[in-house]
Amino acid sequence: MKLELERDATLNAVEDAKREWEQLTLGPFVEARPERRPSFRTLSGTELQRVYTPSDIAGLDYVNDLGFPGQPPYTRGPYATMYRAQPWTMRQIAGFGTADDTNARFQFLIAQGQTGISTDFDMPTLMGYDSDDPRSEGEVGREGVAIDSVDDMLDLYRGIDLENISVSMTINPSAWVLLAMYLVAAEERGFDWKKLSGTVQNDIVKEYISQKEWVYPPRPAMRLVRDSIVFGAKHLPRYNPVNISGYHTREAGSTAIQEVAFTLSAGIAYVEDVLKCGVGVDAFAARLSFYFVSQIDFLEEVAKFRAARRVWAKVMKERFGATKPESMRLRFHTQTAGASCTAREPLNNVARTAIEALAAVLGGTQSLHTNGYDEALSIPSEPAMKIALRTQQIIAEETGVAGTIDPLAGSYAIERLTSDIEAGCFAYFAEIEKRGGLVRCIEDNYFQQEVADAAYDLYKRKERHEWELVGVTKYRDDTSNPRVDLHHVDEAAADRQLRNIAATKARRDPHEVEAALAEVVRVAGTDENIMPATIEAVRVRATGGEIVRALRPVFGTYVEKPIF
């Protein structure tokens, strides 16, 4: 009681002092020298206060809203000692050409000090097509690595100790197939599934919203995600069967609140699906992992990460009744924002990436990919990746921020922004419920419309120079645009991969493959878990494209209704 009175008295004093400041100091100053804009907004469009004070966080309760790292609500971090135990995983994405080509890049990155692996696949693999499919022409091994079968998977991670380094795979519509291939490859190399650590992105909901990689319609596609989570809960204690993502939605132009809200809504939907299978929340929730962007608006991003943790902790506890603390703990990977990188004056992107990386670290990320300066021009070159990795290492070793946990806590601005983002999320959750739930919202293009509107709003603000791009819209030097050496696409890689897939097909037993595919199709028509049959199919060297294609008649295909 006494504390409240004291607090009120303090706040009154602050507010009085602020009013006096506005009258005596601020007022005259602004008259003599007007501010350069009528308002200052974050990248997402949130208005920034001129100055934040204790009044702005009046309702905040340290113990319940912030607490301590490593326990709910996890606002200050998912682990008790955070980077004092070990820095975030430095995990630069890599993928191009054939599995051999990408394996070489993995080895390079590990030699340079990378501590986790992240794999990028080519468009055909991402979309469920084999390298020899007519649809794949011109795109095999171009934007990522081509993986058609377990044979490729064995080449991809050759020489890498899968029990002692975590491996992430950025794959979605065919994620369950690539996971199956990964498990078979690991097994054939003698690794124990129980010791495998890593992540498969496998977040199909966000595909319909933003990344737009899809094969089947939402409901059957979500069943595949559910099956992976259930399978993982039973067999893969150290593996994250999903990496529920906001990066792509933000890159598509959404606000920070939408990024978190839509991502966590997808998480909620996946949890609901698994619960319906009869698996208890505490049996699997701890292994759900997340993936956000770190954009250039520094304050908003730090706040965003903290808000995400607090929201998820509340949702898991209050909505799903989780009792294990780990079930409420949100862990995430971050990538710095591709959309913030410019094609002009690419070296400027090193500065942008560094700032974004710092925001992610101050936001408590578990894993981080920093973009290369060539992000707007091409997939990353070796030199660009080296500088990007060094950026992370400099933050970890030289800046001191890794020595104390959540140092920006208590900042009036950061806490206010955190609370506002949290409130925005819960508002979206209510709206989604009102509109009939997540799948209905996807079918009705609700998320897509919100994202398109936000993207358009940002585009308009850029047009009005309310948001500038240095070197492009402001401080533009048309006399010089430095060129950088880009990753050279090896056009011969596609041919090599065609030979690889032909060899795989020649070696395997076609009867076994046919039978295995038939079994996958049969299981798909029931409510059984699809993972075991898929594992058997890839074991006998059925290809990803064959499995995906076999299920099109069962699950149907998806055509979007575009909104503008």
Partner: protein, 141 residues
Amino acid sequence: MPTKVLVAKPGLDGHDRGAKIVARALRDAGMEVVYTGLHQTPEMIVTAAVQEDVDVIGVSILSGAHMTVFPKIMKLLEERGVDDIAVVGGGVIQEDDIPKLKAIGVRAVFDSDATTQDLIDGIERIVAETGRAGARSAVRK
């Protein structure tokens, strides 16, 4: 008469933020925009262009596969006897490839820092140059 533009997304790449903003911006500039949707093959793009009888095909491509896609589109247009639809491109297209694209008949390539006003101006200039208005008015007599 409103300029009619086909905004096309070839290949497997799903990044349509730019294409959609372009579509909206062109509409705001008074143009009629037909959007193909994602995952288009060159055949689908050319079929749409012919049926819609557009003035310009705008290809939005970020995957780096432009040296496969554009030649196919130009070839299909030629095979269908279409010589009055201009093709332009935008997205992630390396500077070194731009002259090669121009050499096969791509009228303009807009880099990722181009503004929508650049696109609008560019398209209007190209339509004026192609003389489609002239070609069409020859029908009447």
